[in-house]
């Protein structure tokens, strides 16, 4: 599995996600500058990392959604290539039209960084096959604008098509208002595209890959991806 991490000028978890990919797969990802036009030819997975892509003074991800490289990312997704957007990367995917909905300011109006339990909604995708169905994982969140919203029809469609990837929950896996850190509709922490090849999520599995530093529940996501074998035999 060959990954490419896109670096925007204000990306700041690009190194963290590269480290997680390396740890899970033994292989270092390509690093691709936002101003580039093309992805490396053997790319299986494109990662849009966390950060503040262009400072995000306007609307998170709004400018990055129009970056040079995004044309290639769209094309990669259209061909069925894998795309993972974390935090700001999720915001960019939404702005770029690769995922539905919008990420609004947190309901509490402040930036929130804390450990957070998530429920893995399905484990039959290329991103989650190393988790158990319904597994509760302990990772972290760190964002000011992660309040997922969409119109009723879109939410219904996401639910009906099994496209909710992760939900905020308490330690026992229950969905509850007190366990929802930002007011997201249906406690949605992450969603898939129609073909399940694009995943966007607000939490940071890449920071929880090590029992000493917080925990290791995030690693299985990268191990799932590492196990992916492309049709090209790469």
């Amino acid at each position: 599995m060959q990954a490419a991490v896109i670096t925007f000028p204000g990306s700041n978890r690009d190194g963290d996600v590269a480290r997680a990919l390396h740890r899970a797969s033994g292989q270092k990802p390509h690093v691709v500058w936002h101003a580039d036009q093309a992805l490396p030819t053997n790319t299986d997975l494109v990662v849009l990392p966390g950060g503040f892509s262009y400072g995000d003074y306007l609307r998170c991800g709004a400018i990055a959604g129009h970056a040079n490289i995004m044309t290639a990312v769209r094309e990669h997704a259209r061909r069925g290539g894998l795309v993972l957007g974390i935090c700001n990367g999720f915001q960019i995917l939404v702005e770029a039209g690769l995922l539905p909905g919008v990420l609004m300011r947190n309901a509490g109006l402040t930036f929130v960084c804390r450990r957070q339990c998530l429920r893995v909604e399905r484990n039959d995708t290329v991103f989650t096959r190393h988790y158990r169905p319904g597994q509760v994982i302990d990772v972290c969140i760190a964002h000011g604008e992660g309040n997922f919203a969409a119109d009723a029809a879109t939410l219904e469609r996401l639910e009906g098509e099994g496209r909710v990837a992760f939900r905020y929950c308490d330690a026992t896996g229950q969905i509850a208002a007190h366990a929802n850190p930002n007011g997201s509709a249906h406690a949605i922490a992450g969603i898939y595209s129609e073909r399940l090849n694009v995943l966007g999520l607000m939490p940071h599995p890449e920071n929880f890959i090590d029992a000493l530093a917080g925990g290791s529940d995030g690693l299985a996501l990268f191990e799932s991806l590492a196990a992916f074998r492309s049709g090209r035999g790469g």
């Binding site: 204000g10 700041n12 963290d16 997680a20 917080g214």
Partner: protein, 741 residues
């Protein structure tokens, strides 16, 4: 060429006074240059000779601090201190205040404080890996406190989160003496290779001086002068002197600077912080014994028509000045343009020892550079010591309520309550190396993939410093030293941020002098040198000064982060050991203040021999893996420390009665005697530890066992750990959610 006084106003007595120059300082300037200064010169001199930039009131006393150790690579005087942490790696760190601007405009004041200290660290060639802070606000019921706290916390988070460095620790307290002058002290820590450290000292004649980063605008003009004066009722009128931060620009500047440094092009580098272009250029020249000539027509400006005076005094953020190797200029320019940043050659180094500033073909300033920079005025200001306060015995403090109620009330008091509401607004997980998050004795960040790590903390107990500045100064250092030991780190060095009132008031000056004596004594005794620091004076409003607050930022080294300790109880059935002597010292304790309503008496004395002995013992126990939890005792004493350990581990404890030789129980549980720690260990291990302590003459007592869902203090009904937690967690969010302010 004649000096040009173009469109400049006549230099009047009033104008000199507005620039914060005292009459004798103005006379000194006249003698230096032999003629009246131009307005631009007056501005430059006022920027360089103000308290903030020149340390003129404190320098004499700062010289007495210990700053050397075999592991110190760079002590005070550079952008940040540098220590050797082995394996060719260096830790670069400093703490700096942004008190005055944060009071005027809390979000931008705090944000640019973080930006400034991050720049200080990466200017030296280090990549920042952690931030901490130390904050003090006025009384919770003061109408401005809630607004200031909300703004400062959002500003610190807004800058650090976006820049991409974890904010891993801090200290927050309240007192009415900060009503008119809050404290915002930010600390940054970075990593560099020992052979890749960059300094401000310019070298070589005729080398290009390059301006890098954001453009210059009219913001923050005279910020440093504002920060060198006391406030009156018109503090809000000084809002235009506060700078505006852009963490995105700073992130670009970081990456571009580190890339440029790696290219070998940089001879000297200085960030444009307080007093902007003036201070950075003068410092580079003065340190390198070189003159500097600037051509302001080449300075990238954000707005048109800026005068020389405005450009020289602007404190626009995210800017750097460098001296480059001439042959690397094109390569350097390419790197900066890749990151979308301005790059302009704006001057050269000269052999003249003059600071010459040209604008539109005219010379606007021509001043001797050494006297502006490292030979600025120094004062030996008159000072006096305050009265010694009486010792308060436990017998003189009748307990007004039972110990259980007192504990719950203390846990919910503003100074002791959980600061979760604050630290959850700071990204503390980014970079994936946070081994110990905010809320412990010290934060731990791993270095790359380990096993090495750094322990970091910020500490001071201002009420002790007010009651006895010398003991208070010692205590601030000892507390930082303890917090590092309590996680298993070897304390290596510290940075200080000296926040005091008006140095022209002999009582406030006395607090500064005596605190520094105490800091020096403790640092010397504990081999814990001061490698960087900052002084913030004139924290006074309408004649009322702040509590003397010498903030200490401590850095310690952990050989293997897998062998560190945290304060949470880990298991049931562990023996709880109290290490250090307990005499039940209630003078200046939080029990006395919060429960009895008295701020009185002498603070607990600091026995530096005991600190060293007990601290080294604890560190050894942790490194050898013999204890399952460790916590230093400080504000609130034994009972509060036990409660914090129980809450963190969600495990209760049963604590036996003090022996008849111990002080009365309220003094035993809430006294704030120094040099004390709590550890837990398996019973058999605990017995061996007790024998070893006895051999070394270290006071140690087994005071109970962990387990159950309640904390039971001898002679009192059990308190559910959940009850302790809700007391501890609820005050701050409820306070911030309340209307008003």
């Amino acid at each position: 060429m004649a000096l040009n006084n173009e469109r400049e106003r006549a230099i009047t007595v009033d104008l000199v006074a507005q620039h914060g120059l005292k009459p004798d300082e103005y006379q000194r300037l006249l003698r230096l240059i032999g003629r009246p200064p131009s307005l631009t010169e007056l501005g430059i001199v006022s920027a360089m000779w103000n308290e903030h930039c020149s340390y003129k009131s404190s320098r004499l006393h700062l010289r007495k601090l210990p700053t050397h150790a075999p592991w110190v690579i760079q002590g005070p005087g550079e952008n940040a201190g540098v220590i050797d942490i082995g394996d060719g790696e260096a830790c670069v760190f400093k703490m700096e205040s942004h008190n005055h601007p944060s009071f005027i405009e809390p979000y931008q004041g705090a944000a640019t404080g973080v930006g400034g200290i991050l720049r200080d660290v990466f200017t030296m060639g280090a990549r920042p890996i952690a931030c901490l802070n130390l904050l003090r606000f006025g009384a919770p019921d003061h109408p401005k406190t809630r607004h200031l706290l909300a703004g400062v916390v959002a500003g610190i988070g807004g800058y650090g989160n976006s820049f991409g460095v974890p904010t891993v620790g801090g200290s927050l307290g309240f007192h009415r003496r900060y009503d008119g002058n809050i404290l915002v002290n930010a600390m940054a820590v970075g990593l560099a290779r020992t052979d890749q450290i960059f300094y401000a000292k310019a070298t070589g004649v005729g080398n290009p001086i390059v301006y890098l980063g954001s453009k210059t605008g009219r913001d923050g003009i005279h910020g440093a002068t504002m920060a060198s004066a006391a406030f009156d009722d018109d503090a809000a009128g000084k809002r235009p002197t506060v700078q505006v931060g852009d963490p995105f620009a700073e992130k670009l500047l970081l990456e571009a600077c580190l890339e440029l440094m790696a290219s070998g092009a940089v001879l000297a580098i200085q960030d444009m912080g307080a007093a902007g272009l003036t201070s950075s250029a003068v410092e580079m020249g003065a340190k390198g014994n070189l003159g500097i000539e600037l051509d302001l027509d080449r300075v990238p400006c954000r707005e048109s028509g800026m005068s020389a005076y405005e450009m020289m005094l602007s404190e626009s953020q995210e800017r750097m000045l460098m001296v480059l190797k001439p042959e690397k200029r094109v390569e350097a320019q390419t790197i900066f343009h890749k990151w979308g940043l301005d790059f302009a050659v704006i001057g050269t180094t000269t052999a003249s020892l003059r600071f010459v500033v040209k604008h539109q073909g005219r010379i606007c300033a021509d001043l001797p550079i050494k006297e502006l920079g490292d030979e600025a005025p120094v004062y030996d200001r008159p000072w006096r010591a305050g009265p010694k306060l009486p010792l308060i015995t436990a017998q003189a403090v009748p307990p007004p309520i039972d110990n259980g109620q007192a504990l719950l009330r203390l846990l919910a008091s503003p100074d002791l309550c959980s600061k979760r509401w604050v630290f959850e607004q700071y990204d503390h997980f980014i970079l994936g190396n946070t081994i110990q998050s905010p809320g412990g004795d010290a934060a731990i960040v791993r270095i790359a993939d380990g096993p090495k790590g750094l322990a970091l903390c910020t500490d001071v107990t201002p009420r002790y410093c007010e009651a006895d500045p010398r003991e208070g100064g010692k205590q601030a250092v000892a507390e930082a030293w303890r917090n590092l030991n309590a996680v298993g780190a070897r304390p290596l060095a510290l940075t200080d941020n000296l926040n005091f009132g008006n140095p022209e008031n002999p009582a406030a000056m006395g607090q500064l002098v005596l605190c520094l004596e105490g800091i020096g004594e403790a640092a010397r005794h504990l081999d814990f040198p001061i490698v960087s620091g900052n002084v913030s004076l004139y924290n006074e409003t309408n004649g009322q000064g702040i509590l003397p607050t010498p903030s200490i930022g401590g850095v310690g080294l952990i050989a293997d982060v897998g062998c560190s300790a945290s304060l949470a109880f880990k298991a049931s059935g562990q023996t709880i050991l109290l290490i250090g002597r307990s005499e039940g010292w209630l003078g200046q304790s939080l029990y006395l203040r919060e429960i009895c309503g008295r701020e009185e008496g002498a603070p607990p004395p600091v026995d530096l021999d005991a600190e060293r002995q007990n601290g080294e013992f604890i560190r050894q126990l942790i490194v050898e893996g013999r204890v399952s939890a460790a916590h230093d005792l400080s504000d609130g004493g034994l009972a509060v420390a036990l409660a914090e350990m129980a809450i963190a581990g969600n495990i209760g404890a049963n604590v036996t009665a003090p022996s008849p030789t111990d002080p009365p129980s309220h003094a035993f549980f809430f006294g704030e005697d120094q040099a004390r720690y709590l550890v837990t260990a398996a019973p058999a291990v605990a017995e061996a530890i007790a024998r070893e302590a006895a051999r070394r003459d270290i006071p140690l007592a087994a005071i109970g066992q962990t387990g159950g869902s309640t904390l039971t203090l001898a002679g009192l009904p059990p308190i559910l750990v959940g009850t302790l937690r809700s007391a501890h967690e609820s005050w701050l969010p409820a306070y911030m959610a309340a209307p008003g302010g």
